[in-house]
């Protein structure tokens, strides 16, 4: 199998240092909406300056380069073990080059491995078999600040008066945004999964963040709900960094997965404004980055 280390290294560099344009565009719209002279406006101006600077200098957008989460769609001909080795090797290299901060910490001893290589879960690599000859690898870098404010609700929830319906999902999502305040580096993006078990629901809530921020949900009802949650979250007034202001959430994506009769989970993964996500597509000898 071919060695993809250089291509993968470029994927990591791009993801860590160059914020995707649709995310930047939303930050610019948010900036234009904030009150002149407000702390919210200052925060967004600073954020956008930082985005331009890291793109130019190839340095991390945020010092917390997070958990590298890879989603691989590979043709059956790709040797999965070998690709895993190449990805892990690349993560080590990217850490040496300071595109990534060493982030893998032994939960028992507190020891940092120094190279971002922990056990099989760190970096996280999800494999899927591709039905075409394309090898596509998506990478999300998700920092700890926003990961810590993720939340899972088991419906019905009496406190929120949230039942097992889309209205219940809406209430749970708004509660999660309220609880996060500015701690997840607002204005953020929400990935929401309805259903699953506790584990798969969290997985799906992250995977849905792979969608293009500008796309529409294929389910008309969920599409409406996505926009409604974003709009209402912005009425909470939490604002950038929790300073108060208009921009709290820049986008919401919802997916639903099958659940057990007894369970109805609503899982919210909060992604900070530094929504670091890139895709690499390899077709034959050609490499494309999105």
């Amino acid at each position: 199998m071919r060695d993809y280390t250089q291509e993968l290294l470029e994927l990591v560099r791009l993801t860590s240092t160059d914020l995707p344009n649709p995310v930047e565009a939303r930050l610019e719209v948010a900036l234009a909406n904030e009150e002149p002279g407000s702390a919210a406006q200052t925060a967004l101006e600073t954020i956008l300056k930082n985005v331009a600077m890291t793109r130019k200098n190839s340095t991390p957008i945020c010092q917390d380069t997070g958990t590298p989460i890879f989603y691989v769609h590979a043709p059956a001909t790709i040797d999965r073990d070998e690709l895993t080795r190449q990805i892990r090797n690349t993560v080590g290299l990217a850490t040496q080059k300071s595109y990534l901060r060493p982030n893998a910490v032994d939960a028992l001893t507190g020891m940092n491995t120094g190279n971002n290589l922990g056990d099989d879960y760190f970096p996280t690599i999800h494999f899927h078999v591709s039905e075409t000859n394309e090898l596509t690898i998506d990478l999300i870098l998700k920092g700890g600040g926003c990961e810590n404010v993720g939340a899972q609700y088991s419906l019905p929830n009496d406190t929120l008066q949230a039942g097992r319906d889309l209205e219940g999902v809406r209430k749970a999502a708004l509660d999660a945004v309220f609880r996060a305040q500015g701690e997840g580096c607002s204005p953020g993006f929400l990935g929401i999964a309805i259903g699953g078990d506790r584990g798969t629901s969290y997985l799906a809530s992250k995977e849905v963040l792979l969608r293009d921020p500008d796309d529409h949900n294929q389910d008309a009802e969920l599409d409406i709900l996505e926009n409604k949650i974003t709009a209402e979250a912005n009425e909470l007034g939490i604002g950038p960094m929790g300073f108060g202001g208009k921009a709290t959430v820049l986008g919401t994506k919802i997916t639903s997965i099958h659940r057990l009769p007894a369970s109805f989970f609503v899982t919210v993964s909060y992604m900070c404004w530094a929504y670091r996500r890139r895709k690499m597509i390899i077709i034959g000898d050609k490499v494309f980055y999105e």
């Binding site: 600073t46 890291t54 010092q63 901060r101 940092n112 929120l160 309220f178 300073f243 900070c272």
Partner: protein, 206 residues
């Protein structure tokens, strides 16, 4: 207009600050986050863990830096680890609320004049800020490269055994931009935003 302040900071300078003030900080500060706060708290304040000679030596070096000084909740990206020619390329704040169990004691122990972080802190820290006096400075989360540009020198590092993000980096900064979000007069922007957003939430979900 932003106020220029130099570290160490006097009680008068701190008392002159109010929520909403923009400040440009210059001087020597020290990074410290989760492991460092627990270490200081358990080893020197509560004395749950016996202090080693090395612990005491580090403490004696930190004390003069932190008296009327500042702890920055930050785990930077650092280059030059092999050669010890350290350079910091990304140094935004980490979420401060995780230090809430320790921060008030740490402020008292060192006579800190401020902590820098993001997301704000709770009632215990606010009351310690009032007593000290000290303030909570909010840096912009994720503005890692801009803040790194304000670091003119990495003076040294302690507890590198905790790993790069958790180590104690002693840095000299010039005009590091922050906003006061908790002052020494018991005022907290975070408490205000929490209260207002709670009212809005209750209306939306009732």
């Amino acid at each position: 207009m932003a106020k220029h302040l130099n570290i160490p900071l006097s009680a008068d300078e701190i008392n002159g600050l109010n929520v909403g003030d923009t400040v440009l900080l210059s001087g020597v500060m020290v990074t410290g986050r989760d492991a460092v706060h627990k270490w200081i708290h358990d080893t020197f304040i509560r004395k749950i863990t016996p202090a080693t000679e090395e612990d005491l030596e580090i403490l004696s070096l930190l004390k003069p830096l932190l008296s009327e000084g500042i702890i920055y909740h930050c785990g930077p990206v650092v280059t030059g680890l092999e050669s010890s020619q350290y350079r910091i390329t990304a140094a935004g704040p980490t979420t401060s609320i995780r230090e809430e169990p320790y921060q008030a004691d740490v402020i008292n122990f060192f006579t800190l004049r401020g902590v820098i972080g993001k997301g704000g802190m709770g009632a215990k820290t606010l009351s310690a800020c009032h007593a000290a006096p000290a303030v909570y400075f909010h840096a912009i989360g994720g503005a890692a490269a801009l803040i790194a540009e304000c670091i003119t020198e990495v003076i040294g590092v302690y507890r590198l055994d905790l790993g790069v993000p958790e180590a104690i980096w002693v840095i000299r900064v010039k005009d590091l931009p922050v906003i006061v979000t908790m002052d020494a007069h018991n005022s907290s922007l975070h408490a205000t935003v929490l209260e207002q957003s709670k009212k809005s939430l209750d209306k939306m979900i009732s």
